[in-house]
């Protein structure tokens, strides 16, 4: 057990590293998206700034910071300012309970690759995500703009609705692992069965339906295509962030991509065995390989996100609601029942 001082110092270091890595990841996922979508649409994407446009995110960041921060008249100012902060804060906070690897030993201290491991880690993520709704809703309302208001309304309704399907799809995993702690959940997926298939929940726990539900609900939660109704450009200009500009707009942008990453991390942890993967080689490689596997899996998810965005058209709003309530929710409940039977059968 670490002493309090070491714990605090280690935690601070981990926080700083995590935020830096996360923001970088956010920036480069934007780049990745532009690049991939570009190729899907038979374009090049960013190419001018740096090799393959690799410095484009940096340029964008500079642009956001130096642009004029415009506050339109007749907005409800306190909330107008607070809304993007709430959004980005919640998006960044949820990363704090996500483990990206096993324990490592640094300077003789045995430290987990996770900012903090709490008993109710998954609940923390869910709670923080659900608070994040306020950012979108309040942004829409405080802008004093009908498009924004509609976007905010849609966002809050959509996120509250899909949160139920999302939460229920996770319950099957929880039944299998018997814990809310993300680290425990990953540990429960260790090993293989039938000799070679990893005991990931999506395989061994028969959670493919849950995985599918989670994926759908996650797209809706993060307001991504095909569920990006709150910011549907053709109907609502830009939805809840129509009136935002400069750094405030950047915050929403960051929040969206940070949420995508968080959701991808969760999917990896819950269904695909987290950092579990073949580990070999020298000690240093053994320490880093789990992290590599984790990042690789998350990357796959991010790629699928972008791929879907480049491929699928947008839903209509009533289709979206009907899909969530009438299809995903019953399916999630059925999956829950089946999982219960499976667990009861195995024990």
């Amino acid at each position: 057990m670490l002493s309090t001082e070491v714990f605090i110092v280690a935690s601070l270091v981990k926080i700083v590293i995590a935020i830096l890595v996360l923001l970088t990841a956010v920036a480069y996922s934007v780049w990745l998206e532009r690049k991939v979508v570009g190729h899907i649409q038979n374009r090049w994407g960013p190419t001018r700034v740096g090799p393959f446009g690799l410095l484009q995110p940096l340029a964008d960041g500079i642009k956001f910071i130096v642009k004029e921060d415009l506050t339109p008249p007749h907005v409800y100012k306190p909330l107008f300012i607070a809304a993007p902060m709430i959004a980005v804060t919640c998006a960044l906070t949820s990363i704090s309970v996500i483990p990206i690897g096993n324990w490592i030993t640094v300077f003789g201290y045995h430290i987990p690759l996770q900012i903090t491991d709490v008993n109710t880690g998954l609940l923390v993520v869910l709670g923080v995500t659900s608070i994040g709704v306020y950012g979108v809703a309040l942004a829409g309302w405080s802008s004093n703009n009908k498009y924004s208001l509609l976007g905010g309304l849609r966002a809050s309704a959509q996120m509250v609705s899909y949160e139920i399907a999302l939460g229920l799809s996770l319950v099957g995993v929880l039944i299998l692992s018997g814990s809310f702690s993300l680290r425990d959940i990953v540990n429960a997926q260790a090993g293989t069965f039938w000799g070679f298939i990893p005991r990931w929940n999506v395989f061994y726990g028969c959670q493919f339906f849950a995985f599918f539900i989670y994926l759908m609900a996650a797209y809706a939660e993060t307001n991504r295509i095909p569920f990006d109704l709150p910011e549907a450009e053709t109907e609502l200009v830009a939805g809840y962030h129509t009136e935002y500009s400069a750094m405030k707009f950047a915050m929403f942008f960051m929040a969206e991509y940070a949420n995508m990453i968080t959701v991808a991390c969760l999917a990896t942890l819950l269904f695909l065995g987290g950092w579990r993967g073949p580990v070999f080689g020298p000690p240093l490689l053994q320490a880093l390989l789990p992290v590599f596997w984790f990042v690789a899996k998350v990357f796959v998810f991010m790629f699928i996100y972008i791929w879907v965005r480049g491929t699928l058209p947008r839903f209509r709003y009533d289709q979206l609601m009907a899909f969530g309530w009438k299809f995903l929710l019953p399916l999630a409940i059925a999956n829950l029942l089946i999982t219960g039977f499976i667990v009861a059968y195995r024990s």
């Binding site: 109710t120 608070i131 306020y134 208001l149």
Partner: protein
């Protein structure tokens, strides 16, 4: 000591939020104050060891119920409160009554203080134990509340649903 400090910090945030709820005239500000109250109450629950309660408090109360409130406020486009004087009884009788009652209770409680301190995280409410309790000892109330929820869902659908005669959706805006 840490316990007391944390208690005081979040307790004052709590009270500040509650008072802000009263003072603010716009319902959305009141709603956000209430979210603050709930969030800091969740921290108080954590201090008492009820971590599952705290998580549920955030997810259900702050994340769902209050979102619903905010949603309705946005939907009805509720403006700032009007200062009508509909009831003298409430002001002349009710508020003093509450103050008297509150002060009396506080006085009694504080007279008893110091006798039974509560330790930090005194009673860890792990989800497993709570689940066992709900699904064994409290199964009947649990089922009854599930029926209550079902009825509430149906009631809400009936109440808020469009009357069959109104043909145009969104007409009430």
């Amino acid at each position: 000591m840490l316990h007391l400090i944390l208690f005081l910090i979040f307790g004052s945030i709590c009270v500040a939020g509650a008072v802000n709820l009263l003072v603010q005239r716009h319902p959305i500000s009141s709603a956000l104050s209430l979210v603050v109250v709930m969030a800091s109450l969740a921290v108080e629950y954590l201090l008492l060891g009820a971590e599952f309660v705290a998580a549920v408090q955030v997810i259900i109360y702050a994340g769902a119920v209050m979102v619903l409130f905010v949603f309705v406020i946005m939907l009805l486009n509720a403006g700032a409160e009007e200062r009508t004087q509909g009831s003298r009884v409430a002001l002349l009788l009710g508020v003093p009554g509450v103050l008297v009652g509150g002060v009396l209770v506080a006085w009694v409680l504080l007279r008893q203080s110091g006798t039974q301190p509560v330790a930090l995280g005194a009673l860890p409410g792990y989800p497993k134990i709570i689940g066992n309790l709900i699904f064994h000892d409290f199964l009947l109330p649990f089922e009854v509340t599930s029926i209550l929820i079902l009825i509430a869902i149906m009631g809400a659908v009936v109440l808020a649903g469009q009357p069959a005669t109104q043909s145009q959706p969104g007409e009430e805006r």
